[in-house]
Amino acid sequence: MCLNHNENTQNPSHFEESEEANVSPAHREIAWNEYKDLIKGMQFFDPHIHMVSRTTDDYEAMRQAGIIALIEPAFWVGQPRTGLSSFKDYYSSLVGWERFRSSQFGIKHYCTMGLNSREANNEPLAEQVMEILPLYIYKEGVVGVGEIGFDDQTPAEEKYYRLQLELAKEAKLPVQIHTPHRDKKKGTIRSMEIALEHGIDPSWVIIDHNNEETVKSVLDNGFWAAFTIYPFTKMGNERMVKVVEQYGPERIMVNSAADWGISDPLAIPKTAALMKMRGIPDETIRLVTYQNAIDAFGKSGQIDVTDFEAGHAVDQSAKFHGNSILRGGQQPASAKDSLVIR
């Protein structure tokens, strides 16, 4: 993605529209050295991050900061897909190559599978995707149907949202719901109403990308409320701290939703550090940055904490389909502080 520094605009994320992107950052920058001691020994679970768009540097930094497991929701990859095969290969990569790549950095990788709301508007293609989607949602390590819901709030979006809610019900899987950026409050309420209309237990539904305006009704209705800490959007981590102070840790979780836009894969450890600085109890921090995500998505029966809690050995020379993440002659771990890159 090209970033033109002469224009004072930032790249929108996949859940954000460009007009609203040009706001002053609400995300507080903290250097690793300033906060690493605050979160020492803490373990984090990022329930929403798009690793296909991230680098190995991110994986290394995430592991170093204590992220030991993550969920990668199926989403819009920026470039619109033109055929079923692109969807198939993308879905396969979520349970295949990306999962392997993550394991090479000691991070357990889960995913949610779904047809995202933007591409639901391409109806002929959406029909084909729906035909094969059942073959993906039952795969091992798929912890939910997601991220689905509304973007423009079109009839096509509603149609595929409903169909996928039925799919989740049938498969006994949690649902990860993307809420729209435009007309967010109404879109969030509508998403919840439709889920309830389909007879889905709200404790199986994670409503994502909340803010102060939406959180109360989400919690009051018994849903999980996820918050995305994403620079230049309205949800920064200082305000996250206030939300936790006000609502406590119950059914609240934090994620980064880091993707191909300007985003921060360390949003969770940084927010945890900030909470610690503001005197939020350790147990509360643990719930919103780790345990609640496991409890919510663990309903899928696909999360076994023994796979990551004790830490698992990393063998970067291991292979997937005969391929390693290493290129000819590379050493498994690079020295990040070194000026010279070998």
Partner: protein, 295 residues
């Protein structure tokens, strides 16, 4: 379909006997709940059966199955070389589910199997390739099968190459030789390839000789099992390979040369063997055989 010039071309529909045997093994290894889940999936719509195939590990354990020797023998009598030994229950369940897909409409059947291949992750691919000898319209899967030989996923390669009777029956000579060479090249146990002796051929023997020369030139060794594929085809070139082996410091090389020469009608090979009395006697008495060189 790609034409491999395959001599075997029979329309083959799998016997109910094997389906039934597989089910017997499943019953021996599952809880009542697991078996009921599988039975229910097997009688549902094609799409539900296919998602059942994917969902197997969600409902069925991945433990390694145990199988009475007699049942394995019965399977083998019905379909030579077919084995489910050391399979996980999930793999066996998936293969059994595949045998339950309705094959009455060929076009729909092929489309369903192709879709499963297209969307499969690794363990599903292993099950699909393991099931090839059991699927209907076997020639239809030739391209997939040769593609699995090209796979660099070890488990997938093993599923088609080792203990699988499909390649022996349907692979062209070219595809067969590629399978054997890749098994040798990857240092996998060639004796686990079904039909190894039956499908031995002169071209393969010549290629193996070239392969050995390359390895020797690079100062590397060649697994002694390789030579079990050349006996019948020993000519002047291979004879010099045998001489080379008889001079090796590795006793396994000398044994392999003796066994290969004993299988040859080439007079010079007989003479060469006769000059190595002890080994000649060991071969003749049966105390030395290829099994000794298997690993």
């Amino acid at each position: 379909m790609i034409n491999f010039g395959n001599p075997v071309s029979v329309s083959y529909v799998m016997s109910d006997f094997i389906k039934q045997k597989l089910w017997e093994i499943i019953i021996l290894n599952t809880s009542a709940q697991e078996a009921e889940w599988l039975r229910q999936k097997s009688t549902s719509s094609p799409m539900e059966l296919m998602t059942g195939f994917v969902a197997v590990p969600r409902s069925v354990s991945k433990k390694i199955i145990s199988i009475p020797a007699q049942v394995q023998a019965e399977l083998n009598a019905e379909l030579k070389g077919f084995s489910v030994e050391n399979w996980s229950l999930a793999r066996l369940s998936r293969v059994w589910l595949l045998t339950q897909i309705d094959a009455s409409d060929k076009e729909a059947y092929v489309k369903n199997i192709e879709t499963l291949f297209d969307t499969a992750e690794m363990n599903e691919l292993v099950a699909l390739y393991s099931a090839l000898p059991l699927l209907s319209f076997p020639e239809q899967w030739l391209f997939r099968a040769t593609d699995a030989v090209r796979s660099n996923m070890g488990f997938v390669f093993d599923a088609i190459a080792l203990r699988n009777p499909y390649p022996e029956k349907y692979f062209s000579e070219l595809a067969w030789n590629q399978l054997v060479l890749k098994t040798i090249f990857n240092d996998k146990p060639v004796h686990l390839i079904e039909g190894l002796e039956n499908r031995a051929n002169e071209k393969l023997a010549a290629t193996l000789s070239d392969f050995a020369h390359e390895r020797w030139a690079a100062g590397r060794s060649v697994g002694p099992q390789v030579w079990r594929l050349v006996g019948k085809y020993i000519n002047e070139t291979l004879l010099s390979d045998m001489e080379h082996l008889f001079q090796s410091n590795d006793p396994a090389d000398r044994k392999a040369a003796a066994l290969a020469c004993a299988e040859s009608d080439f007079p010079a090979a007989k003479d060469l063997l006769a000059r190595n009395h002890e080994l000649e006697n060991a071969v003749k008495s049966g105390s030395l055989n290829w099994a000794e060189l298997e690993y």
